[in-house]
Point group: none
Chain length 254, copies 2
């Protein structure tokens, strides 16, 4: 799969909010979706109808998601075109299904062909047994059991995040580190530059009796060398330190 298609529409999951209550929470869910490139939102009988004037401000700019949102009368209709339905819930239900984590769900979305839908229940009560019955899996966020109160937008963002994270992993073979500063992250300076720095330290310190007593001079030198070798400074950093040492070699002005 080419890297630039990982976030493409083919394996982008559909987010289904089942009987959401507050327009504000629909807006926040839309924002969380778009943060990680998800744009397809479906609403099953939102309590206050649709569109909802409270959704827009809460979406903080994710209007494209709200504008494209579609409303369905039942959960079954909302997922009719999907090959894989996952139900999010923190509580164990009377339905026996495989329970998977968001990262496993993210992996399935990138590896199992066909459209994936993820169901999120109403704010207070969560999904009903009949909604969960439509799903193949239950996604449960492994949360602090003593404080499992996860709000709707936070549940959405964790699932969207994992879809995105696993997508990069699948595309890159390994977990991809974002390195926008790559050009500035220079490799460590060549050893001869480090040697020059150590020698500069050594010269100034010798003049000031740092390596005395003589019997311990070798150990003292090795310790200093070790401290200066640890950082892996690049050549700009070594140059900065050479400037520092040049100044330290001067007499104080006062």
């Amino acid at each position: 799969m080419p890297k630039n298609q990982v976030a493409g529409s083919l394996n982008t999951p559909v987010i289904v909010l089942v009987r959401p209550q507050l327009g504000e929470n629909i807006g926040k869910a839309a924002r969380a979706m778009l943060n990680f490139g998800l744009t397809e939102l479906r609403l099953v009988t939102p309590r206050d109808g649709w569109p909802n004037p409270s959704a827009g401000p809460a979406a903080a700019g994710a209007d494209v998601v709200l504008e494209r949102a579609r409303v369905y009368a039942t959960t079954a209709e909302a997922v009719a075109d999907c090959a894989h339905v996952h139900a999010t819930t923190v509580r164990k239900r009377g339905v026996t299904k495989p329970v998977i984590t968001p990262d496993e769900a993210g992996r399935q979305m990138h590896t199992l062909a066909g459209r994936h839908a993820i169901l999120f229940g109403p704010e207070r009560s969560g999904l009903e047994t009949d909604d969960v019955a439509l799903a193949r899996n239950i996604i449960t966020v492994p949360i602090n059991p003593e404080f499992p109160s996860l709000n709707l937008a936070q549940a959405v963002i964790l699932v969207a995040y994992e879809w995105s994270r696993i997508g990069r992993e699948v595309a890159g073979g390994d977990a991809v580190l974002v390195q926008p500063n790559t050009e500035e992250l220079l490799p460590p300076a060549p050893q001869e530059e480090l040697d020059g720095l150590v020698a500069h330290f050594e010269k100034l310190l010798e003049q000031r009796g740092y390596f005395l007593p003589e019997a311990r001079a070798d150990t003292t030198y090795r310790t200093l060398r070790g401290v200066l070798t640890k950082p892996g400074w690049n050549h700009l950093e070594v140059r900065t330190l050479r400037g520092v040492l040049t100044h330290l070699g001067r007499e104080p002005r006062e």
Copy 2:
């Protein structure tokens, strides 16, 4: 380190909100923390003072986090006892630091000994350059570049989630502890020891005109700070360097 201590309190990171604006967002951040078992919240000069009556309702039951929250006058004081400081930011800054993802950060928190602190900036503006200068790493959530508007509580929950997820992975034996807390590999010195070292350099260099011209003094200071922050020296190494500086402050013998 026994496996069952991996997710214990010793390597539980500290969440530092730098100059947060709305009490409501502090409450939501506390809720996100407790969802994944984080309880230590530090606040740097919250705009509306502390305690803030808007925080409690937004915390939705995470009162224990708010009650234990401590307030600091500066970011440096808030992280003085921490060995690893990570700054979260979406934007590229004038500071050159390694940029890591939340999952890599979660891995470091479980594998690098010493306390970890994670800095989150104010809602609108994000962290200042001087805050970022205190950190060893920058954590950037790999987000939709066309919609990078991530709110404070969402940024907190993603970092807390990854800390928890990687902790389970490490506890399960899947990940390798790359730097166990052995006697040979001491953790980085607490930030206050590093601050002492930087101040020692600064004092000697000021006396020798290093920070001139005045107009560039801030940049020069940040560059030096960056070079000295990079290594993660342990307290023995910092002590060695303090000895070096004491000697460099003396007049040469010849």
